[in-house]
């Protein structure tokens, strides 16, 4: 274990993507925000578990967050999604409310307290889904203008043809929304899944530069991906600890 890990990560101000939130403009945070993005069944949750275990073993306080987990609307979204007539903007806004609730009540306070926040997806998945559903680009980006820029964002990039087998191993059926069945891409669910995931992946690639996402080859085995991610995270923490 390197000494750097015991160093204070240092206080700093936050940077928002857009206008931010009024009462958070001048706050100082001590923690770090690390995000792992990637489609369903890409192995995100497994990776997050492993990384959490390691970071805690190294003495860091870690908070996990993810989508649809807010106290305010997390369950409401699950119920609302059963209503397949739900409009696209409505669902987009609902997800934004869920994200905002966790952002203000969990992510920010944890960062202020010096936690490493490990986010199982952040605004990028939400933006990508909205864009694939034809919502206006500026509108989608403005919507999440209240979010802060994370320290690092990894994107588990998995070929749709590889991904579909992982989905079957995990659930044995294809999810309605994750297959884009709500946007009429194809009569055939299998086909629809491939087209949808390809489009999501294209949006991620387009966001890579704008948001500095780090693509991680997700076609490899779970231990290989974990080694890769862990090395990068350890390296990052060491760097910030030495600054």
């Amino acid at each position: 274990m390197t000494r750097a890990k015991y160093k204070d990560l240092g206080k700093r101000t936050v940077e928002f993507y857009g206008h931010g939130i009024k009462n958070l403009q001048d706050i100082e945070i001590k923690g770090r925000l690390i995000v792992i993005e990637g489609p369903d069944a890409s192995g995100r949750s497994t990776q997050i578990q492993e990384i959490t275990t390691r970071l805690e073993a190294d003495g860091h306080a870690v908070l996990n967050t993810g989508l649809k987990r807010s106290e305010l609307v997390g369950r409401g979204i699950l119920e609302a999604k059963r209503d397949y007539n739900l409009g696209r903007k409505t669902l987009a806004l609902y997800y934004a409310a869920d994200f905002a609730d966790q952002f203000e009540y969990k992510i920010i306070p944890a960062l202020q307290a010096g936690y490493i926040v490990l986010a199982d997806r952040y605004i990028y998945t939400l933006i990508a889904r909205n864009l694939v559903r034809g919502l206006d680009r500026t509108w989608c980006h403005n919507l999440y203008g209240f979010a802060i820029k994370p320290d690092i964002v990894f994107y588990l990039d998995v070929e749709p043809s590889v991904l579909i087998h992982r989905v079957f191993q995990k659930n044995s059926t294809l999810d309605h929304y994750e297959s884009g069945a709500d946007i009429g891409l194809s009569e055939d669910m299998y086909e629809s899944f491939l087209i949808y995931q390809k489009r999501i992946s294209q949006e991620f690639h387009a966001m890579q530069k704008k948001y500095g996402l780090i693509p991680i080859n997700g076609n490899r085995s779970m231990p290989e991906i974990h080694n890769d991610l862990q090395k990068r995270i350890d390296g990052f923490l060491q760097r910030v600890g030495n600054q």
Binding site: G18, H19, G20, I21, K22, N23, E71, L72, V73, G76, A80, D83, N85, L86, G87, R88, K89, T90, A92, L93, Y94, A96, A97, A100, D101, E104, Y105, D136, T138, W139, N142, L143, G145, F146
Partner: protein, 224 residues
Amino acid sequence: MKAEPRGKLIIVEGIDGSGKSTQIHLLEKWLAYKGVSVFRSEWNSSEMVKEITSKGKKKGLLTPTTFSLLHATDFADRYERNISPLLRAGHFVLADRYVYTAFARDIVRGCNPEWVKKVYDFAIKPDVAFYFKVPVDIAVDRILIGRPKLKYYEAGMDMNLSNDQYESYRIFQGRIIEQYDSLAESEGFTVIDGTLNIEEQQNIVRKKIMPLLEGHQTKARTRR
């Protein structure tokens, strides 16, 4: 805000106690009497969102951002399923409060004005937007006459304006009026003096709506 629908969208704005709901009710009756196919849409009424919003409100969990986003969700649900398709199909839609209510309340709560306006920019601009302007004391007295129990967010208690809920409500409503006043010109509100008597106000409203009826297919009124 986006392109023309075929129907007509008429909206009313004003603080609680400004008399706007009475006026829209009378307008609806008149249009229906004339055989116009008319629908009504009310603020904060989407079944799906209502339960969650009220739960969050009860627990005092809402921040200005989540308050704003939940109301936007509610509005989007009504807009996507109800207002927009009705307009596309050529009907008259009367909205008791529209996006301006959100602009005013959210901005008073401290949300960024540009952010809020962009969030709602999918909504079309109304054909006519009435703003019932009433001095804050008159409107507040109308509401508080029976000293009703105000709700936490309704009274603006989340903004720490005053420890007294009635005082807080008064300050909050005053700030909303400031927002409406600043929106009035840029958004082209038809401002109506809400202190006039009900008939006078309705008369002005109907005169303003009259031109919209020209060329609008009205079905012959059938007596039963």
